[in-house]
Symmetry: none
Subunit: 211 residues, 4 copies
DNA sequence: GATGAATGAGGCTTCATTCAT
DNA sequence: CATGAATGAAGCCTCATTCAT
């Protein structure tokens, strides 16, 4: 956990450091990301980082959380929930893709957060990686259950799991050269990719929606 | 690509090095994995690694490919394809989980292969990561189409994509402390996990199978 | 260019490191000179060198420049310019030899600076190698022209080039076992060597001086 | 000294290895030149080099000598000695420049031979570096003395030394970006460079020639 | 005589972290 | 509280040389 010093920092400085750290870890991952580079780019002393964070991992998990907040707010949080449930999901995936298209740094950082391999780092961001979006989504699902938009016997855990699965896939595959086993996303237009993304939701609708 | 020296090596030595490298990269990932450690554990001279491989990345991608082959053969390759299509898938996911339970090293390496963040390493193993399993699965799907087990209008790309998605999820989530947003896999018995895995396939069956 | 850290270093520490680096590169040249050895002999951490210099080449060119300054000041810079022009030159070569006799480390480093083979290193010290002494000598030549000590049609570029040529030769030949094709410098007394050096100047005088 | 095995080698193989070694050492110098690279480029086994030569230094000095022979034959050896002495010298410097212009590899190797810094390597090629050309030139000078083309009191050692000095300078300066303190050789045409080279000889003529 | 696999020392450089100022 | 110099372990990689085949 960051120190009090960090919390007392002027917001703009804190934001600047966070942004730079996200860029660095997003590009290189936790292990290969360099505190030297972050300190240099953020124009702060190397030692200052250790006044704000206990160690490298502390910094990493802090910016992971910050990134996840930003992303959730800018995607799931923006969606009009006054639509049919599966339209909400379709809106989310489209917004999700739009957000990452406009902010490649956040795209990479979200990917790094979800896919960190180093055991310690993984332990630190693990809940963030998946659960953050789950927290944002579960109320939406619950509302759909309450309004009777899903099958009576619906398994909401399964549904949640698969929505997050889909989002994680759409966080990486469209931005990689060979990200998907079946779709050549990197050769497709944004609109076509959006269409494919919607079809993932179609599958969920056919399986979880009312007959 | 590995050197001729590598290909001429006695099989047992080659296997030993591969195994150790898989353990190292599986635990630490590409960037944090150490050639020093691999050489030491494999009891060969540090310099020898560079007689076998052009550089670290060459070693990494070689063992990635070797690992993927092993895994595909030991999971998808073992399944009796004389069953109904979705039973095949259910058999695959169960075998998939069983294989990784018995070989945690391969489990981690498969995860590392699919989730490497470093751009260069990612480029090198990218096709391996997804397409390898895709190659094994597509014939199975095609057979199901031919035998009329799927909807007439079925989108096989979408199906393939989601199967691989599911497999990748089952490569990591059950082996992580907080791997799934909805299911507490790490508190569940193997049988319960198998049951959940089958439910992912149920979803696919309801969406893609005959009404 | 060295870092600010280097410039802020206590002068004695900076001098110690410079001196040791000059000794190392003077003996082995750029390529074969070892940063490990320099760090060990200077009793600083290996990593510290990289707080002072961007890389090996940066260190090399810095100490080349420092060495050249020292040498120019201790030779050309010391000469009384209130003499006839060719006497000035004779004083310079004698002082030049005296300086290098007393400081073999500087002698070797000056040689290494002028004769580095590695392309990158050569590019970095190239102007230092020749032009540094040229800058010190040209004013002296211009004064001689102004005072009418040279032929009316004198080619000052040619004269300058040949003076530097001679100095470079006297930087190495007298200190090598078989440094000169004609004179067995290593079997000669210092006085005899001084006398030969003066004869090189005699040649210039006969060619460039007044009839 | 090379082994008998080396001497018994087919001439074309020996020439190929020599040529490749000259290219490597000419580019990188002795220390940084790599036997690995030479063996690879010459398409022979690394171990074979050690059947031909005692060690790296043995190879280096062998190819230095071979290079010097080639150069002397292709420059000094080609000149018509039936001219006035200083015309001979002028022909030599022009031919010298022409040869190196056409064979940059030999140019660099000659430079490397003359300027090696490593003490051991230097000891091995030292006599080659200067004396080889001296041996070729001294008979020419003696002939000039005999035919009375030089001053009665001429110091032939000094003359020889300065001729070699000049040749060594013309081996490097015109091929370097900032090779000469006074002349911007790299911005000059070949003809202009030839003209400057002749002026070095003019100086010698005025100093050593008949009044 | 030729090969080329094996070696391990050593190369330069980057790193996270500490601590005196 | 901020700084930034210092550290030394560890990183990847190249090297000349040996020796069994």
């Amino acid at each position: 956990m960051p120190t009090e010093t960090w919390r007392n920092l002027p917001a703009d400085k804190r934001d600047r450091i966070t942004k730079i750290a996200i860029a660095e870890f997003g590009t290189k991952g936790f292990s290969a990301g360099s505190l030297n580079v972050i300190a240099r780019d953020a124009e702060i002393a190397k030692g200052s980082l250790f006044q704000y964070f206990a160690d490298k991992l502390d910094l990493f998990s802090t910016v992971c959380a910050a990134g996840s907040t930003t992303i959730a707010e800018a995607t799931i949080g923006l969606i009009d929930t006054d639509q049919p449930f599966f339209d909400i999901l379709r809106s989310i995936v489209v917004q999700w893709l739009a957000f990452f298209r406009e902010d490649p740094v956040q795209q990479r950082m979200a990917f790094a957060t979800a896919n960190e391999i180093d055991a310690d780092a993984r332990a630190a961001v693990r809940s963030v990686a998946n659960d953050f979006y789950a927290a944002a989504l579960r109320p939406v699902i619950d509302a759909a259950v309450a309004s009777g938009e899903l099958r009576a016997d619906v398994d909401t855990d399964l549904l949640l799991s698969m929505v997050v699965l889909t989002l994680r896939h759409l966080n990486s595959a469209p931005f990689d050269l060979a990200g998907d086993p079946a779709f050549p996303f990197h050769e497709m237009t944004d609109d076509d990719i959006d269409a494919v993304a919607a079809r993932y939701i179609d599958v969920l609708e056919r399986a979880f929606g009312l007959a």
